[in-house]
Amino acid sequence: MTVTKPYVAAVGTSAFGRTDLTGRDLFSAAVAEAFEDGPDPADVVDALYVGNQSESYEHQIMHGTLLAEWCGLRHVPAERVEGCAAAGALALRHAVEDVRSGRRDAVLACGVEKMTAGGTAGATNALSAAFDRALEQRSGVTAPSQYALLAQRYLHDTDATERDLARIAVKNHANGAANPRAQFQRETDVETVLDSDYVAPPLKLFDCAPVTDGAAVVLVASEAVARRFGTGDPTVRVGGVGAGANNIGVADRDLTFVEGAHEAATDAYDEAGVAPADIDVAEVHDAFTSCEAMLAEAAGFAPRGRGYESALPPAERSDGWTDTHLSTSGGLKARGHPIGATGIAQAVEVYEQLTGTATPDRQVDGATTGLLINEGGVADAVTVAHVLTT
């Protein structure tokens, strides 16, 4: 069987942050960027998948139908994909699989979330739906407290400190300052992070990704369709994908090793024929600073218990670390975390790095291979990894 190589033909995002625009409007902005120099969506897009966390923000489901219509499509397969914060990369995975199989020539992977609609309480309540209803939700857990249960044990079992986690926030803010797409295009410092209020100890406000409105799209296409975009010489393709579920309940999982992410990343590496040391840039779903540390270990960039060194320059990390640059976009922390759009936004960053089109202050010279790890439902209730290569 011939497998079609899935290329990234075009990418686009809305601005990330708080806005009066609705989800569909944010999508319109992302589509406008992605299709600025190419054919119209209706000329090429055969199907559409939309990562979207919750209908509670806008009281709207049917995002497949809605967004297809909003970019000029009708009578195409179009559906919402749900997996909390992993919804975006799950949508991307469907697009990749459709193109690989030869069933579709071009599929639009989308993500959208209008999180600010219900304020902090609305986001807290909506996100809590990702946790097990029987024992976790009824105990009053929240997203920060769920991640804090992992972080507390991680700090207990490793040499990591709250200051180490703060350095990850500082690094990601510095990267965000260099990213025109970022919600927070400003730097911060370790003392500011450490002085911020605890949200769920040991996690503080500045360890947490913000509430974000935003949308992002990636057009996955055969080489023939991809040639109709950009320079006409597509260079970035999706070389490998891995995805998998873990327990829904945090209590049933390994609290300090993100097994699901390890499995997903390993599958993606195997498909792409690469190893962790080959990855030049990685977006690692730092919904909380502690996630970046743990995902760095799960993805094979860091030795067990040393992922918290991700903010250090590669030369200063422990033996066994790869030279991978993490969260060059600013990560979820600074670029923003519009839940269902985050996985797509991660792919946009890796695409820009591999095409050399990231802004100079964050561009990793000569990057040819990148990884994105997108997870949903506390660390790895579901995880999706994509390896992008040139």
Binding site: S139, Q152, G249
Partner: protein, 154 residues
């Protein structure tokens, strides 16, 4: 007291899936209301699952039996909820923990003492009670009789 462990084992037949079965949430919480915390024990690998479910995630096995759990254990990890779901706003801050029971089974629950008085390794005991007004607001119709479980220092 009903012996909740005197029930069919998995694999379940279709007609076994009733609200009386501890392999369902209504059955699990009915037992908890009577003071019994139940787990399913995998007969293939020994894994303990709270609440009971009809298959073992660790090995894929579907042969399980129900076992009453010890109600003492230790804190594996813990934190404090400072920004709670809106229904529980008046209750915050409160402590939540992952607890490993003396049987090895683990579950998440609230802790009855403040965060500063909690620590990893702290011995705790399970308690249950009916829902308070704010918890009733959070509860769906079918959950209103389900007890809240909490851990207190042992």
């Amino acid at each position: 007291m009903t012996d909740h462990t005197d029930t069919p084992t998995a694999p379940l037949a279709r007609d076994d899936v009733t609200a009386d079965s501890p392999f369902t949430l209504p059955g699990f919480f009915a037992a908890l209301n009577d003071g019994d915390l139940l787990a399913a024990v995998c007969e293939d690998c020994g894994n303990r699952l709270v609440p009971p479910r009809p298959a073992c995630y660790a090995c894929g096995g579907r042969h399980l039996h129900v076992e009453e759990q010890p109600q003492t254990g230790t804190v594996v990890s813990y934190t404090e909820v400072r920004t709670p779901p809106s229904a529980l706003a008046e209750r915050a801050p409160y402590t939540v923990a992952v607890v490993e029971l003396d049987s090895g089974a683990r579950l998440t629950g609230r802790v009855t003492v403040p965060y500063a008085e909690t620590d990893i390794g702290m011995p705790v005991r399970l308690t249950t009670r009916s829902l308070a007004a704010d918890e009733l607001e959070l509860a769906l119709d079918h959950e209103k009789e389900w007890p809240i479980h909490e851990f207190e220092p042992a």
